[in-house]
Amino acid sequence: MAAKKDDKNLGVEVTELMELIAKFQNLELHDFHLEAKSLELRIDGGVASMPGFKLPNAIPTKPTALLQQTFMPPVEKYSSSISEVKLGATKSEGGTRGRSLIIGGEKTPAFYTFENPVINKPVVTLDVFDMEVPLSKAVKMHVKEVMGDPAAWAKLAVEQFKADMVTIHLISIDPLLKDATAKSTLKTIENVMQAVDVPLVIGGCGDPEKDTALFEEVSQAFPGERFLLSSFTRDMNIENIAKSAKKNNHAVLAFTPMDLNMARELNRNLYDHLGREDIVMDLSTAALGYGLDYAFTNMERARLAGLLGDSELAHPMSSGTTNAWAAREAWLKMEDKWEPRELRGPLWEVTTALTLLLSGVDMFMMIHPAAVKTLKDVIDNLSSGKKADPSKYLDWVSAKI
């Protein structure tokens, strides 16, 4: 009976997901044919094989019954664990949020639940922009109603798309866009805080000077809210903003461009002003097909190092997974055989997210609702403690699909 009920729930979830991704609209298509000629970069796989060699076998006596063996689960001990960082603050905690969240705390590599259970589930924060931005069609169709209205966008993200958190990207301060003042963003933040009660990430524009001013202003204007300030970089003068973040009880996202030594260095600089419990790392996310291998390995190495005692890397990790859409295969209208892009695009974001989930990411900054839905389902599945049911597994061989 229980299994049946689960199936039913699944059906409902799935309907939701389908509704999200199947809203194909009439597309304006630029005619585009991918005709990349065969280009000559072969990265040789090397030689792994050892042909021509056989172990000298004793003449086998064929067993007549199974030779019982026990598999020894290869459980390892780790000398360290990942710091926990609390995001958002409720009224009793000194803020106004409906709930706070904790990320990090792992004692084991990502979802090695044969060693240790999941301590804090990874969370998803949805992107909201404070002005109109160019978005891929597959994304835009879900948010075009709320574009330019960050409060409404945040509400949609939380209520419809089930975001754990919201990132409000204050890109209007970018000198190349509106060059708005830091002060002018406070109203936007205020509005978003009224619209939703989840913890918030405060995103800057990428310009070191403007972002420094922004974080200073926001820290002071919203003391005790435990925002995550995104992000602190090596080329910023971090002393004052780090002090201000500490004083006003905010957490900090430390961004470095795919280099673990730089990540350690930035963290060391932050330790002068902040505690371990205040720092989340963004080690850079590259899209599937556009450097995801670097991002994956960088994060996997950081996490393993953190667990094995490298305290400068033992921080929760955040991923700007929305970068998946930088891959042209995510958004481009391609030949028919690769279509529809309304499925290919969000699957690109899902695949990027899941690959990094398995490297140890604790927090995902995402944009497509179907990708968010799938990632959250997978996180729930992996954290549930439930077991596989092998009884009908081998039926796949003869299943009439």
Binding site: D7, A48, Y290, R301, L358, W396
Partner: protein, 472 residues
């Protein structure tokens, strides 16, 4: 065990001291030390040492082969030039060395499909092709399933399949006599057999021996059972084994990942030989248990679980979906995960002439990150643009991350303009920069003295941009 533990730390000296030390250069290396260095880096095979094959070196040869034996056995499926190598992994994590033998991807057909359907599915698998940074991404195998349970039908189906394709096959039937009917059609083709289970293992082991085929040991969510099967098959005389610990969805996803992870760790870190075989993942099993899911939703789930399995150590996966949107993310993910992390993916900086540019042709720059460079160059070439492309040394980063991380700076662009001698090749002084580098446009103008035109954010729009905007 001690030898295994040492394997990770292999140095060229470990190899060198066991070589004949003749410095004969028959291996095409300068000397034995150089050869040993390449052997450790797995760039050449120990069998290329001719003197080592002589009887007097048999003992050292055996020790060397054992030292170099990968903790995950390499298994060959099929014969001839399409034969597929799976497994052969040296390490658990790619950063520890590199992964060999990319996850083989198979697509299924059944003995109850019409011939037309079988041919269509095989052709779409064979013709699958995607050009990606100079590589052609392909699919690898066909899995033939007996859904009828009828030996004759299976035989006819395998016959049709083998007449249609040279791709290696996975033959799937749990009844040994049905499976044998299929194998007999292609007795020398070394298909992978699916599967020996805790109940049918004896008959299946006989088939594997008789036809010299690799075989899957399947014990869903039962690693003791899987070890038992592997051990029994091995003692029976079967050498080439593939392990199927089961691919489960939803509530079973955690067990699935745990099983693959435990097996690979046991093989690579503990030296457990019974875990040291290639791993099989079956994302298509979701179709057998789909409930009322809509087709696209099943495909969606099949697709993302396939991706997780590629990331988590799986050496072969079987898919049912042939849709491009399902396959594309996974073949690209496979390419990414199996890229050698020891080699930076960068191309040489410098000047590239596309088509037949003249003194009025546009000048672009891009980064030396291979992915960026090949994408831009391919777009310019396919649109038959005559242009100069300056490749700037951005330390192998993409445009946006290069600008953000200060690896692609106005100084570097300005230096590249001077170093390439482009000033002598064109009369104008205009450079079209990537839209994603617009942040540094002012600085480039200042430093280089060239007028900067900010081009599109994606190179697929360059052709249109030139038509609209380009004036020498």
């Amino acid at each position: 065990m001690s030898q295994k533990a040492a394997k990770k730390e292999l140095s060229p000296i470990d190899i060198y001291k066991l070589l004949p030390k003749t410095n004969c250069k028959e291996c095409k290396q300068e000397n034995c030390m150089a050869f040993a260095t390449k052997v450790v880096a797995r760039e050449v095979n120990i069998s290329q040492c001719t003197p080592l094959q002589k009887p007097e070196h048999a003992k050292n040869s055996a020790i060397l082969h054992d030292l170099l034996k990968p903790p995950v056995k390499e298994v060959i499926i099929g014969v001839g030039d399409k034969a597929c190598k799976v497994g052969g992994k040296l390490v658990m994590y790619r950063h520890e060395f590199t992964y060999f033998n990319p996850t083989a991807i198979a697509v299924d057909v059944t003995d109850e499909m019409t011939e037309a359907e079988i041919v269509t599915r095989i052709k779409s698998t064979e013709n699958f092709s995607y050009e990606y940074i100079g590589n052609t991404l392909k699919l690898d195998m066909i899995a033939v399933r007996s859904t009828s349970g009828d030996a004759d039908k299976f035989k006819n189906c395998v016959k049709k399949v083998s007449e249609t394709t040279n791709l290696p096959l996975i033959l799937c039937a749990l009844n040994a006599s049905v499976l044998e009917a299929g194998i007999m059609v292609i007795p020398k083709a070394r298909p992978l057999l699916y599967a020996a289970t805790l109940t049918n293992w004896k008959d299946m082991a006989e088939l594997a021996l008789m036809y010299n085929c690799p075989i899957v040991a399947s014990a869903p969510n039962d690693l003791n059972g899987l070890a038992t099967l592997a051990k029994t098959l091995q003692v029976y005389g079967v050498q080439d084994i593939v392990l199927d610990p089961g691919t489960f969805f939803n509530d079973g996803l955690a067990d699935t990942l745990n099983n693959f992870t435990m097996l690979r760790r046991a093989a690579t870190k503990v030296g457990d030989e019974l875990a040291g075989f290639p791993l099989l993942g079956l994302p298509l099993s979701i179709w057998a248990n789909r409930g009322e899911l809509a087709d696209d939703l099943v495909r969606w789930r099949e697709a993302y679980v396939a991706g997780m399995l590629i990331t988590r150590f799986t050496d072969i996966i079987v898919l049912h979906s042939t849709e491009g949107w399902v396959q594309l993310p996974n073949v690209i993910l496979r390419q990414n995960i199996y890229t050698d992390p020891r080699k930076p993916v960068a191309v040489a900086a410098g000047l590239k002439e596309l088509g037949t540019p003249n003194e009025n042709s546009p000048v672009f720059f891009t980064s030396n990150f291979a992915l960026t460079y090949y994408t831009v160059a391919a777009d310019l070439e396919s649109s038959k643009t005559n242009a100069y492309l300056i490749i700037v040394d951005a330390e192998g980063s993409a445009i946006d991350s290069g600008v953000a991380g200060r690896k692609l700076t106005a100084e570097k662009v300005s230096d590249a303009i001077k170093a390439t001698g482009i000033e002598n090749k064109v009369k104008h002084r205009k450079i079209i920069i990537p839209g994603k580098a617009s942040r540094i446009s002012g600085e480039i103008e200042e430093l280089s003295g060239w007028k900067v035109l900010v081009g599109p954010r994606d190179s697929s729009e360059i052709a249109k941009y030139l038509v609209d905007k380009w004036q020498p």
